[in-house]
Symmetry: C2
Subunit: 190 residues, 2 copies
């Protein structure tokens, strides 16, 4: 390996940013390698091709994205569940038009072929996110934790999509309100 940060991680970093900012189809291999400061052939030395790079990018992002939405912090389970919407609202308000929605939804939406490896990565991410939500829902005392987690994921994705189309956090706050309603309904709180 060279003294530089390893071509592989530089490629993954550049790919993650460019795929998210400009779209996967609109990001060429040459531009990607250039931004990574890497020879084009290094891409094909480390990945089978662009599709595999896309999938690996999402796989790497999975844990980070979940940690961002549900950081490990002490606190009430209900607050942590609602915190997801605060993270999204912050991203919309602080980022100067940088927010482009859930990276996994975005990727899947661009890659029509459900057999694309990115689809598997996206589904795996959503499954793991659901697992985390189920755990918190159970901690919060939900009668049906699975159901509550599924409900929350609908609200999360809805909030992200609406937040993108209108560049506004208002729909996210609406989702947060509904989330509180649904949580309280599921936990028998008032």
């Amino acid at each position: 390996m060279t003294g530089t940060k390893d071509a592989r991680v530089r490629l993954l970093r550049a790919a993650e940013a460019m795929f998210y900012e400009q779209g996967i189809g609109n990001t060429g291999i040459d531009a990607l390698a250039a931004r990574a400061g890497v020879g084009k052939m290094s891409l094909y030395r480390h990945f089978a091709g662009k599709d595999e790079l896309v999938a690996e990018t999402l796989r790497q992002r999975d844990a980070r994205h979940r940690a961002w939405l549900l950081p490990e912090e002490p606190g009430d389970s209900r607050d942590r569940l609602l915190g997801v919407f605060d993270r999204i609202a912050e991203a919309i308000e602080s980022g100067d038009g940088t927010f482009r929605g859930c990276p996994f939804v975005k990727a899947v939406s661009e890659l029509e072929d459900a057999a694309h490896p990115a689809w598997a990565a996206a589904r795996e991410h959503k499954a793991r996110l659901i697992s985390a939500l189920v755990r918190l829902a159970a901690e919060a005392g939900a009668a049906d934790a699975d159901r509550l987690a599924g409900d929350l994921l609908v609200l999360i994705d809805g909030a992200a999509v609406q937040g993108v189309i209108r560049q506004d956090a208002a729909p996210v706050r609406a989702a947060r309100r509904m989330a509180a309603l649904v949580i309280d309904d599921a936990t028998g709180a008032g």
Copy 2:
């Protein structure tokens, strides 16, 4: 005009289908003209370019899409609002993997540039859909019809996105349940 159905409408029909099925970026001009049974030059006789064709396709789809989600039918306003989710669930269950989510969300998600004419078309569609929802929400007796309509749109888009990723109508039914909860909460029903 020739005896055929007018090149313009054939192009719009083919474009709408292909853009939705395979994505905008993945649909080439040549393939599009071929599927429309039209010479390639006819496309540029009727539209300024591909971008304008994309936008016009969405503009044409707007009214049809809203009529599909909220058909003009007699009946309780609350039922009509909830019917939106039944339409989506039907589309997922009947279509053999054909459902790919809201066409406007899909287009916007693929076209990064917010200045693309398709963005304006998508926003206009969502605005008109909101107006229709506000009207029904008011009819249903919502204290704050604007707020209820916004909430419902979050649920609608969330349902569509989740329905696509998992090819399953379960998230749509979850959204419908939440919609009922939110409507009753807003109208003081129980």
